[in-house]
Each structure stands twice: as structure tokens, then as C-alpha cells.
Amino acid sequence: MAAYLVIFVAGFAGSFHCIGMCGGFACALGRDPQGRGATVLRHLLYNTGRLTTYCFLGGLAGAFGQVICTPQGATVPLLSGPLDTGQRILAILAGLLMIAMALQFFGLLPHLHRVTAGFGASTLAASLRSLLTAPGHAAPLAFGVFNGFLPCPLVYAFAAQAASTAGALHGFLTMAAFGLGTFPALLLMGGVGRALAPAWRQRGVWLAGSCILLLGLVTVGRGILPFAVHFAHGWTEPA
């Protein structure tokens, strides 16, 4: 449970960083002329779309991890037994990836930025703009769904974490926790429509980076340290 809490906090803090891209969208989604209730609904739908994509990616990554880690035909242990070799390797890879992402958050790996943010993001974002002003409730939902696919280091980091859990349910929960963590800031952005002070955004980046770094270290540790099995359970198994 503690792990989900850290993920939630990372999502929350990270969303201040994400205000650059997603926050801009949330602002552009704007207010509904039909009043406050309609505006709130509009933004909830947008965030629901986003959350759906995150959850889907999480479930998929988790199932992927499960497929890699489970020998054909075996019943799926879902972290109840000791970690097998496949899962150890996966955990180490995912952990290293998360650490790299965290370092990028701290500005220590500038080259990684091109990989994480450059790929097709601008084209996709540009083509999505037509949805921002489209009427109806389906448009913000659709926008949220696409928005969730926009390349973002945070999403990569937690998708990696989801894969290392080697279970669809755990992967789903990981990304759900992350997605819910991003709710407050983005709902706030949509409602208030005003950017936060840069200083706060910087603090958010540091907090998010620290959370990812912590999770990354734990994940790597789960793969390397034999005694970490029980430790890992405490982190990843729902209470």
C-alpha cells in the first residue's frame, strides 16, 4: 500500500511539472458556457479519459510482465511466491529506467529528454487541438484518451514500474494510483485556469523526481537483493 501512496504522491507532484503540456490542455479545455456544473463534468470526463489510458497501459504493462515472468502453463503467482529470475531481470530493468527518468527530472540526463518527449508528441498534440473546442461530452473524453498516450517521462516511468509488478491487476493499480495523483492539479488548472508560480512547479519536479528515484531504487533492490523479497511485499502488495 505504501508503494501506491508514493506513486500517488509522485503523480501529484509530477502533475505540476506536467502543467507544461497537459495543464495547457486542461486550460484550453476551458469552461462550459452552460455553467459551473457542466464545466466540472467536462473536466472530469477529460481526466477520466486520461485515467482510462493510464490504467490500460498499466494493465497491459503488468500483463506483459506477467507473460515474460511466468513459464508457459504455470499458474500465476502474482508476487505471492519468491521472485523468479525473469521477474528479477524485469525489476532491475524497470528500476534502472525509473532511475534514469528521475535523473532526467533533476536535469542530469539532458539527452534523454529528446527520447522521452520528442517522439511525435508535437504532431499528435497539434492534431488534437480540434477536439478542445468541439461541443458535446464525448469530445473531452476522447481528448483525455489521446492525451494519455502523449509521450511523457512520468508515464514511461510508471509503465515500467507496472511491468515490473508482473501482474495485470498490480499494473493497473500502479497506473491508476499515478493517474489519480494527477487529478487534483489538472482539475485545479481547468477550474482556476491560472498557471502556478514557477517556484512551485520546480518544487513539484524535485518531489516527483525524488519519488521516482525512491521507487526505482526499491525496484532495482527487489531484483538484486535476495532478502528484499519480504521488503518488496510490504511495498507492492495491497494491504
Partner: protein, 719 residues
């Protein structure tokens, strides 16, 4: 708009079938080769206020929302998250999945159904039919399973296959559009508009409706829509698409501008000098368009294979289902059949050849090299021998004064007199003499009463004396003697096939001017570059052997590879013999007298002026003075062929392996869809490597003599 207008996909510019997906986007009628291009075009070109693009994205988004939730629930089901006490919830979860799946299948599957229907009406079974069939089977089986309460449903497979194919098609189309970048300016021209100035008003008119004499305004950065003369303004233009050389040419009032060149920095007012449809630019556009619509041999091969492929796959898929139904459970058998249908989509095979070909044609066209037929591009890659015509191909085709043998006076005096006479003549040799005098800064002697003696030369009077330039016969006619020295020089020059003009005044011939065609500066390096590419180079000419040997020596062709004194028909026969000995042969000519041999070669290449474009004989047309690009053109052709071969090998290999895996039941349908979508992206990416080919080498002459080149081009235009 007619069907012909829509022979190319509006998005990726690849050729499309008779019944294409049609749409009106931004008031423009568009046709698309596939659903992916249709989505990509709308997303890219739909404006915010336009409902269409947004509506498409909403449908995809909502479809995605539904299918992702279905997938998530199904993943949880598979991982036994609902095991034990939750087992009685199963029917309700199935019902929920059905509820989600129905709108998702309708929203995401609609376009595939439409495409399958369109192609079916055309009598073609295509990949969309396979998708519709597979998805339909999975959906309806699952619906019945839900009603019956059986433990397995495949709503996730049905919706995810649709979602993966939609995403795959979209990515595929995005890559293809990037590949079409070089073609875009060429093909957009057809729908280009011109700003016509009438009185005080400015009006937008389609370019094809602009007639001669009309004033056209062109802003900086715009493409000049018509051939014409500048009436107002100064600017630089870039004629890269017409001459193959990207550089700036200064233009002012009175300068000629050519349609298709780009106005770089100043606003211009241009008076149109011809109907816009007849410009070289318009011809290039049509030529490229025609080439794209034609199908190359490997493309036809791929088309034929795809034609028989889909029915075979249908049989295999159904056969696999029937076979496995007897050995495994019915729904496992159904999934296997579904995987076969989904994985066998032949999109990658269909894309392999046209993708690489259109990239190559676009790349060449951007440098002024036109390929009129994709088959020629494929043949060019396999060329073992290139035969050159001499005059106008390896040489400039314009005579130059190469020697002045004078006896009793200075060369300058001879040239000044000769130039004074030849000012009154339009003969090709006369221009060469005037140019030689100008090059030495000589003032032509003033001459009156000039008379041209047909076939012999020209005569006139200066200061009461007769001045004459012409053949030995003209000198004899005038009763002038040639000194033995002069006569001997003349004979020697003529023996090596120079044209000799005797010049004299008063009562005596004083000098012999020798004129000859000179090899183009780039001819030697071109011949060397071709040899380095393993191509044998020969010279086939109608000229005298002595001239042929001299030019061949100058450009580096060996004596054994020369045949001279050939009639056009004999040239064709000579090429045929050499083709027999060496393999596929190309002929390079200037297109004026070489039509038979150009048409008879495996690839006819015209190095041409504007009129050559109208000639049907050559399959490849290089820009004026484009000889130096020839090795590069061959490089591009070879790269295109290699790309087509690797594309086809990949596409077939992939399909064979994937179908095999699917038939033995190893490949899950969803995984099959993901791999399928990836496979045509591989073809696109492989083809995009063609963009990394180096550019052709710039000509040295282009930098040293820009002025003469631009006037040469406008002269040809005027002719």
C-alpha cells in the same frame, strides 16, 4: 472532378484503385487509398471549427475508451483476479463487456466495413474484408457465449484488433505522407492558384485558367505560377525544380521568369507569356503524375500476388478453424482462424513497391530529373551499358572557334572582319565566330551590302573592298587564291572533321578558322563516374570517325567502344548488338535525332530542353545540361530497386512465417494484429531510408557562369 483527377491518394500520393474512399475536407474533394490515409488527412487538414476532423477524433477516442476498458477487464479476467468468490460475477462482467463492445465495434469497425464493401464492389477481396470477417466472428461468437453463459468471451480480441489496425493504419499513413514530401510541391501545383491583377483589383484564379497577357502578382516565398516577364519589382528566384540546380538568380524588370520557380525575396508583377497549362512546369507535373499512376513490373507482381493471396488466406483461416475444432475446443479453433485472418493482411506487400518507387521519382523530380515510367526506374538499376550520342549530349552542340591559322595578318584582324560579316547571319557557325570575337574584346569591322551565299558562306563590302568568309569554293568563286601554307592547314583541319571557314578581303584569303563542337566540361567526370559504377560506356554517333575519336579521347571513352557514321536506324541496330553482348543498355541522347534509338534502348535517356519533354521516345528526361546528374540518377534507381527487393522479401517472409505460426495456434489474434500493424510500418521505415541518399554533385559550370545559363534557359523557353 473526374476519376482521373483522383488517381493518386490525397494524403500519401500513392496510386489508388477505382473505388476509393472519398470525402470532402475543407470544401475540397479528396480520395484516399486506405482508411489510414483518410484518418491522417482529416486529422492534419481539418480545421478546428470544422466538425469533421473533430468528429473523427471523438469517434476514435470514444472507441478507444471503450476498447481499453474492455481490454483491462479482460486482462484482469485472464490473470484470475476474479477467481474464487467472485466467480459468480462472471456472467455480469461478460454482459458489461458486451455492453461496452457493441458501440466500440460499431464505431471502430464501421470504416473497415465500408472499405471492405467498396473493394468488394470492385470485385476485390482485400485485407479489410479479412478484418471484418475476423472481428465479426469474434464478436458474434462472444455475444452468443454471453447469452449461453459459457465461460469464455472474446470481446477484447474483437475490439483490440480494430484498435490496433486503426492505430497501425494511422502510423503507416503518417510515414507515407512524410515520404511524399518531395512530391508535394509537384502535385500540389495542379490545384494551385494565381493572383491575377485586373485594373485595381486582385483576384484568385486557378492557374490553368490564366491566359497570355494577364498580369499576375507573386509575393515573396510563393511559387511563380506562369511563364512570363517581370513588369514591376526585383527579386531572386530559385529554379531548382526546372534546372536541377538550387541557386538564386537575380531578376529585374524585363527578366523572364519560369513557372514553377520560387520567388525568393521581392514582390513581383508578372505579365503571363503563355497559357499556364503549356509551361514546362505543368508538363513536369503531368509527367510525374502519370509516372506515379503507372505500375512498375514489381508493383504489378505484388498486385497480382495480393489478388490471389486474400482468397487463399480465407480458405486457410476457415480450414484451420475446422481442423482445430476437431482437436481442440470450438472457441480455441475460432481464435486460431481469427489469428490467421488478421495476421495475413497483405498491406505490406501492396506497399512495398509503390512506396519506394514514388520516393525515388519524387527525389529525382526535385532535381529536375523526370522519370516517365516506374518500369524505367527499375530497368535503370540493372543497366550494364550506356551508349552516348555525341553532338549535344557529350558536347555542347554549339560550335566554337578552336583554331585560327592565319597567313600574312593577325588573328585579331581576321576575327574582327569575320565577326563584322557574321553579325548579319543567323548560322550556328556565325554565332560561334561572334562569340570568339567578343571573348577577345574585338570590335567587329563595319560591313555593308552583306549577301549570304547559300551553302558557301557570306560576303560584303568595307571601305570599298570585298570581304568574304566561307568555304574554299567561295574563295575560288571570288577568284582568290589560297597560299599553299593556308591550303595545307585547311586540309589537315578538315581531315580531323573540323569545319573550316576561310576569311579574306581585298583579293586574298588570309586565314582559316577551324570550328568544332567541344566536349562538355562534365562529360569526362560523368563517364568516369559511370565506369566506377560498373557500367560500360560507348559512343554511337552519326558523325565522322575522326570527330568521334577526338571527342571520345577527350571524355575518356576507349577507341574500341566507338561506332561512327551511323544512321539513326544503324544506331539502333548497333545498340541492339551491344545489348546482346553486355546486358541491359541505356541510350543517352539529346532527343532531337535520336528518337529511334532512345525508343529501342532498355532505358532511353534524353538530356533535354523543354521540347524534349513532349517527346515520347525517352523514358527518363534529365534537365538541360543535366549530364552530370546521370551517375546519381543510377544510384537512386539502384537504391530504389534494392529497397523494393528488401521490402518484398520482408513482407513475404513476414507473412509466410506469421501465417504459419497462426495456423499452428501459437499466435494470439491480438498479438497478430499488433505484429501486422508493425509490419507495414517496417516497410515504410525501410523505404524512408531512401531519403538519406546523398544529393547529386553540383556542376562547376553553374557557379562560374550563372548569367549565361539563365539566358540559355529563357531562350529555350521563348523558342
Amino acid at each position: 472532378m473526374t476519376a482521373q483527377d483522383h488517381a493518386l491518394c490525397s494524403h500519401c500520393l500513392l496510386p489508388i484503385g477505382r473505388r476509393a474512399m472519398r470525402l470532402t475536407v475543407n470544401g475540397e474533394a479528396c480520395a484516399f487509398c486506405c482508411y489510414g490515409c483518410c484518418i491522417a488527412y482529416q486529422v492534419k487538414h481539418g480545421k478546428t471549427e470544422e466538425w469533421e476532423a473533430a468528429w473523427l477524433l471523438i469517434r476514435l477516442g470514444v472507441g478507444g475508451f471503450l476498447s481499453m476498458n474492455i481490454m483491462l477487464f479482460s486482462l484482469l479476467l485472464y490473470s484470475d483476479a476474479f477467481s474464487g468468490a467472485d466467480a459468480e460475477m462472471l456472467p455480469w462482467i461478460h454482459l458489461l463487456l458486451w455492453l461496452f463492445a457493441t458501440p466500440a465495434v460499431i464505431i471502430l469497425g464501421g470504416p473497415f466495413l465500408r472499405e471492405a464493401w467498396l473493394h468488394g464492389m470492385e470485385g476485390r477481396l482485400t485485407s479489410s474484408a479479412l478484418i471484418v470477417l475476423g472481428v465479426g466472428a469474434a464478436y458474434f461468437y462472444s455475444a452468443f457465449a454471453t447469452i449461453e453463459g459459457s465461460p469464455q468471451v472474446y470481446f477484447d480480441t474483437a475490439t483490440m484488433v480494430l484498435m490496433l489496425f486503426t492505430a497501425g493504419y494511422y502510423l503507416d499513413a503518417a510515414g507515407r505522407a512524410r515520404a511524399a514530401r518531395d512530391l508535394q510541391p509537384l502535385l500540389a501545383a495542379e490545384s494551385e492558384w494565381a493572383t491575377v491583377v485586373i485594373g485595381d483589383g486582385e483576384y484568385r484564379r486557378p492557374v490553368r485558367e490564366v491566359d497570355a497577357g494577364v498580369l499576375v502578382r507573386v509575393r515573396p516565398g510563393e511559387r511563380i505560377p506562369v511563364d512570363g516577364v517581370i513588369m514591376e519589382g526585383e527579386s531572386h528566384t530559385d529554379e531548382a525544380l526546372l534546372t536541377g540546380e538550387s541557386r538564386q538568380i537575380a531578376k529585374g524588370v524585363g527578366s523572364h521568369v519560369i513557372a514553377g520557380s520560387i520567388n525568393l525575396d521581392g514582390p513581383l508583377l508578372i505579365q503571363s507569356r503563355g497559357v499556364a497549362n503549356a509551361t514546362r512546369w505543368a508538363q513536369i507535373c503531368r509527367s510525374v503524375r502519370d509516372a506515379l499512376i503507372r505500375r512498375s513490373p514489381s508493383q504489378r507482381l505484388a498486385d497480382n500476388i495480393v489478388g490471389v493471396f486474400v482468397p487463399i488466406i480465407l480458405v486457410l483461416g476457415i480450414g484451420a478453424s475446422v481442423y482445430w475444432a476437431q482437436h481442440l475446443s470450438f472457441d480455441r479453433a475460432l481464435l486460431i482462424g481469427l489469428a490467421v485472418l488478421v495476421v495475413a493482411c497483405p498491406c505490406a506487400v501492396g506497399l512495398a513497391a509503390p512506396m519506394a518507387t514514388s520516393l525515388g521519382i519524387g527525389r529525382l523530380a526535385r532535381h529536375g530529373c523526370l522519370v516517365r515510367d516506374p518500369a524505367a526506374l527499375e530497368a535503370l538499376a540493372r543497366i550494364r551499358l550506356i551508349a552516348f550520342d555525341k553532338t549535344g549530349t557529350l558536347t555542347s552542340g554549339q560550335a566554337r572557334v578552336v583554331a585560327i591559322d592565319s597567313d600574312g595578318t593577325s588573328a585579331d584582324a581576321v576575327l574582327a572582319h569575320a565577326a563584322g560579316l557574321e553579325r548579319h547571319s543567323e548560322h550556328g557557325l556565325a554565332r560561334a565566330i561572334a562569340a570568339a570575337a567578343a571573348a577577345r574584346g574585338l570590335e567587329p569591322v563595319a560591313i555593308h551590302d552583306v549577301r549570304v551565299v547559300p551553302g558557301r558562306g557570306i560576303r560584303g563590302k568595307s571601305d570599298g573592298r570585298i570581304v568574304a568568309a566561307g568555304s574554299a569554293a567561295l574563295m575560288r568563286e571570288l577568284g582568290w587564291s589560297l597560299t599553299p601554307n593556308l591550303a595545307e592547314h585547311g586540309r589537315q583541319r578538315e581531315a580531323s572533321s573540323h569545319s573550316v571557314i576561310y576569311v579574306g578581303w581585298g583579293e586574298q584569303a588570309y586565314a582559316a578558322l577551324s570550328l568544332d563542337d567541344t566536349p562538355l566540361p562534365e562529360a569526362r567526370s560523368t563517364v568516369e563516374a559511370l565506369r566506377r559504377r560498373g557500367v560500360r560506356v560507348t559512343l554511337l554517333t552519326g558523325d565522322l570517325p575522326a570527330a568521334a575519336v577526338r571527342i571520345a579521347a577527350a571524355v575518356g571513352i576507349e577507341t574500341g567502344d566507338i561506332e561512327a557514321g551511323l544512321t539513326p536506324e544503324a544506331k539502333r541496330a548497333a545498340l541492339g548488338r551491344r545489348r546482346h553482348d553486355h546486358g541491359m543498355a541505356a541510350m543517352v541522347g539529346d532527343g532531337l535525332n535520336d528518337a529511334p534509338v532512345l525508343a529501342g534502348a532498355d532505358v532511353g535517356i534524353a538530356v533535354g530542353s523543354a521540347t524534349d519533354l513532349a517527346r515520347e521516345a525517352a523514358a527518363v528526361v534529365l534537365p538541360p545540361e543535366g549530364l552530370r546528374t546521370l551517375p546519381w540518377v543510377i544510384d537512386v534507381a539502384r537504391a530504389v530497386r534494392a529497397t523494393i527487393l528488401t521490402n518484398l522479401a520482408w513482407a513475404f517472409g513476414y507473412n509466410l512465417i506469421a501465417i504459419g505460426l497462426a495456423m499452428v495456434g501459437v499466435l494470439q489474434p491480438v498479438l497478430a494484429a499488433a505484429v501486422m500493424a508493425g509490419s507495414s510500418i517496417v516497410v515504410v521505415l525501410n523505404s524512408l531510408r531512401l531519403e538519406r541518399l546523398p544529393e547529386p554533385v553540383p556542376s562547376a559550370a553553374a557557379e562560374s557562369a550563372p548569367a549565361s545559363r539563365s539566358t540559355a534557359t529563357s531562350n529555350q523557353k521563348a523558342a
